[in-house]
Structures are given as C-alpha cells and as structure tokens.
C-alpha cells in the first residue's frame, strides 16, 4: 500500500543509507553506507526485509515523523529513546530493537540515542527512493544519493510502499561497548618515533566533538613524526587511523576522503568497527594490537553473533 510520512523534525543527521555504493572509489566516490552494519541489518530483519533495503540512519537526535497515509510496520534499532503518539493523544513509550505498527495519524518521535551515536529506522516494504549508481546511500558532502544527496528536510514527505506481511518482533540485545579497540599495525610505522608508538598503545585517547560520518578526531598524547608527516597520496580504507602534522590521530569512517597523504599508525579491525563508531564524544578508548589471524577470527565471531541474533528474530 502507498503510505506517506511527513517530516516534522529531521533530527541532527538523518540520512537514507544501505550497504553502500561500491566500485566507484577510483573516481573519487567513497562507499558511505550504514555506519553500524550490525544494527542496520537487524532493523531490516525485524520487519522481514531483505538486508539490502534502504533505511533511515539517525545520529544523536532522530527524526519525528507523522504517518499521513497508510499503515506501516516499522522497526527501530540501537540504544534509542522514542515515543509513538497515537491519534487519540495517547503516548506510548517505544521499545527499541523491536518492530511495531503505525496507523494513519500516528507520530513517531525518535527523541535520542543514549550512550551511543547511531540508530536505524526500517519499514517493512520499501521507501520510494531513486537508486543512484546502484545504491540508496547518501553522501551529503558530495550531494550524492536519494533525496538529492541531502539529509532529511523538515516538512518534506517520505513516500513508501509498505507491506504488513510480518508479525512484530522484539530482541533483547546487550551492548558491551568495550573501551578497548583492537587494531592492526599501520603500514607507515617508520614515520613514528618509538615513544609515539608506545604512547598510542598505552595511553587513553578521547573522542573529540569534531566527529562525524567522515572521521573521528581523537585527543590524547601527541604522536610525533620522526621527520615528515606527508606521504605520496594513496587510497584510504575505512577504519584507518591517520596522523596529520598536529600529532592527533583521526580515524577515517564511512564517508572518508578516497585518497590522502598522511601516514597511518594503525587500522581498526572489522569486528570492532561498529563498537568504535558508536562511541560518543568525550568517551575514552585504548588501542590494542592484534595479529591478522586474531582479527579474522574476531570477525568470524562477530558474524556468528550477528547471524544468531538474526536467527532469533524468526
């Protein structure tokens, strides 16, 4: 059925995302896509969608939307506080990591993410969006994606083809959110002094306010370069930790530049990426070096856990 949401409040950084736009980095287009692939997959799974369906990613404060028309089976994942205001003014406290039904006239108010940054809103069926270069992901800085590459905008409408074939479901998730982030050593270690390397692995680093989908700037012991802090520009991979001239590391995230010329001290392992990106500014983290073998085993464990949660939804 055709359903329509009205955006009464867009939230701080709400965008349509999917798994990302691949195969274009050589033309300067980064993958983007959902920051937290664990939670975004769960949101789609909770409403019975294929995992490639686009969803709304929000950060800190989410959107407030009114269902103008139709009926919708929706889900929300993350550490999220939200309310559903029914047409008769009754306000229902939302239960996160579950799916629920919205009737015509209902208002879904995603108030805030707690102790985390990102959350997801999925609907059973599909948002009515234009696929740009094979993806629904939004890269705001380059204006690439559905919605003309923009964040959600107040008073605009979101159309969807909603289906109500699946029962609503609920999951109990516990986020351990460890503050120790596992990394693999960078390729340009010879650019850093021994003291810098020792500091990087032994001291705490604080996530700064200057953190978004492009990168997370960290504050802590200065990582001095031995000589130069420029390398010939090279392709950048998500999760790389680069150190520019000021010695304060930057973790490169989903919307990172495609190439860059600062030396990398380490790379966050794939298994710890979702945990890292959910760390709020002012959180303190430490880095632990692991081997490639350990990183790959950790990723297999991450996948097993993810699939188990998806299986529990059935």
């Amino acid at each position: 059925m055709n359903s329509t949401f009205l955006i009464e409040r867009p939230g701080i950084n709400s965008t349509f995302q999917d798994k990302g736009r691949f195969g274009l980095q050589h033309l300067g287009v980064v993958t983007s896509g959902c920051m937290d692939s664990f939670l975004s997959d769960l949101a789609n799974k909770l409403v019975g969608n294929d995992l490639n369906q686009p969803l709304i990613e929000f950060a800190y404060q989410g959107p407030c939307v009114k269902l103008l028309k139709g009926k919708v089976h929706a889900s929300i994942t993350g550490n999220i506080k939200f309310k559903i205001k029914k047409k008769n003014k009754e306000a229902i406290e939302g239960i996160t990591n579950s799916s629920f039904y919205l009737d015509e006239g209902d208002i879904l108010d995603i108030i805030a993410t707690t102790k985390s940054i990102y959350g997801y809103l999925a609907v059973e069926g599909c948002f009515d969006l234009e696929k740009i270069n094979n993806s629904f992901s939004t890269l705001v800085k380059a204006k690439i994606g559905p919605n003309e590459g923009e964040k959600l905008i107040i008073n605009k409408k979101i159309n969807l083809n909603s289906t109500i074939n699946n029962d609503n479901k609920k999951l109990i998730l516990s986020f351990d959110g460890k503050n120790e982030i596992r990394v693999l050593p960078g390729k340009q270690l010879n650019y850093f002094s021994d003291k810098s390397l020792k500091d990087f692995y032994s001291k705490k680093y604080k996530i700064s306010n200057n953190t978004d989908r492009m990168g997370a700037r960290l504050e802590g012991a200065k990582l001095a370069h031995i000589d130069s802090f420029n390398i010939p520009s090279e392709g950048i991979a998500k999760g790389s930790i680069q150190v520019p001239g000021d010695g304060q590391p930057i973790v490169l995230l989903n919307d990172h530049p495609t190439i860059g010329g600062y030396p990398k001290i380490a790379h966050i392992i794939a298994a710890d990426y979702d945990n890292f990106i959910q760390k709020q500014p002012s959180s303190e983290i430490t880095f632990k070096e692991v081997s490639l073998k350990e990183a790959e085993i950790a990723f297999d464990q991450y996948l097993t856990y993810k699939r188990k949660q998806q299986y529990l939804i059935k």
Binding site: F22, G23, L24, Q25, H26, L27, G28, V29, T31, I132, N133, A142, K143, I144, G149, L184, K187, P232, S233, E234, G235, I236, A237, K238, G239, S240, P257, T258, I259, K264, H267, I268, I269, A270, L292, A295, E296, F299, L303
Partner: protein, 226 residues
Amino acid sequence: MLKKITTVGDSSIICDFGENVDLVTNSHVIKLFRYVKNLAEEKKFKGLLNYTPSYNKLLINFDLEKIKSNKIIEMIKSIDISRIPEDTKSKKHIIPICYDEEFALDLELVEKKLNINFSEITKIHSETIFFVYMIGFIPGHPYMGDMDKKLHLSRIATPRLRVPKGSIGLAEKFCNAYSFEAPGGWNIIGKTPLEFFNVKKDNPSVLSPGDTVKFESFKKSEIKKL
C-alpha cells in the same frame, strides 16, 4: 613494477610499486587497476569492493564476509602485469580552458614564482599532453602529469577555503581540476566550463585514471557564459 603487497587492516590490501612518483610507475599501477576492476565488474573474482589507484600504489578493498586477504594476495601474485595488454578503452580528452585574468586567480604569483610571463606559461600548459595518474579527494577530481619542469611550483602558502568549481591548478609536476568547489592550495591558472562529474550518469566521471588530457585555450569574449 610491483614491489610488494601488504595488508591494510583486515579488509584491504595495497599493491606497492615502489617509491617513485612518475609516469612509468603509474602506468603499471593503472594496468593492474584495470585488470582488477574488470575481474570485479565481470564477477570473475568474488568479494572485490573497491580498487583505488594512486601515484604508485593500488588499494583493493574486499568484503571480509566473502574472502580473506591471503586469497586476494595469492590472486594478485599470480598476475603477470607485464603481459596485461594495453587498454584500448583509454580515452583522449580535449578540455577547454579559459586563462583570462578573472579566472587565473594566481596569475601574478605564478609569474613571480616562475619568473616567466603568463602567456608563455599558458602556452606550455596548453601544449602539454597530460596523463591522469589518479582521481580523488573529491568526486571526479583528477591529478594529471607531468608538467614541464619550467612550470613546477610549490603550493600557495595559505590554502583557499573555497576554490571555485572548474578551476585548474598547478602544484609540483601536477595539474588538477576542481570538479566541485572545494578548499585547496594549488596555484590557479584558469577555469573550465566542463562538468567533470555527474552522479546520475552510469559512468559519472568524464575522466578515468589512465586517460590523457590536452587543454585548449579560449577567451571569455568568445562565448556567452562561463
């Protein structure tokens, strides 16, 4: 030639062609890039997500859910790069450029730094055949070389917060083109009306790594709008 292959984290590898930043090295990078891109697009090898050439390296990102780095490294090692045929798809572009004073933002600075008058600079620039080493920083933004030695320049001391879209700049032996308005520190010598990037097209970028470019000068008075 390919010197070494190293992992970058657990989900990428980088193929390193040595320290040199020159046309010979980059042409090897481009050969391998095209080979890998073709494997991915023809679905002849699973799990390849992105392949990003730079001056002397090729970064390959893969899906750790489908494949691990040792398999990709093994595959790359089995390729004899010297036997990859020259690509016939490599395009030759003529890009219009206007060197008029209002667009050559660093005209005076460049003349002073190089001690050559601007008309000589534009002559050398427009006679050069450039090779696209890589594209990035912002979508569709090319790094092209090699500039004649006489025009090698350092970047400007204080980068601009906004370089107008279409601006053409010089730094060291490279020439760039601001496909969008962006911050930058290159010496701006002109502007092009060409749209380098349109995301709505299947092939969104006019230029690809490995293409060649020649600039063709025109005066603003010759056209209505730039």
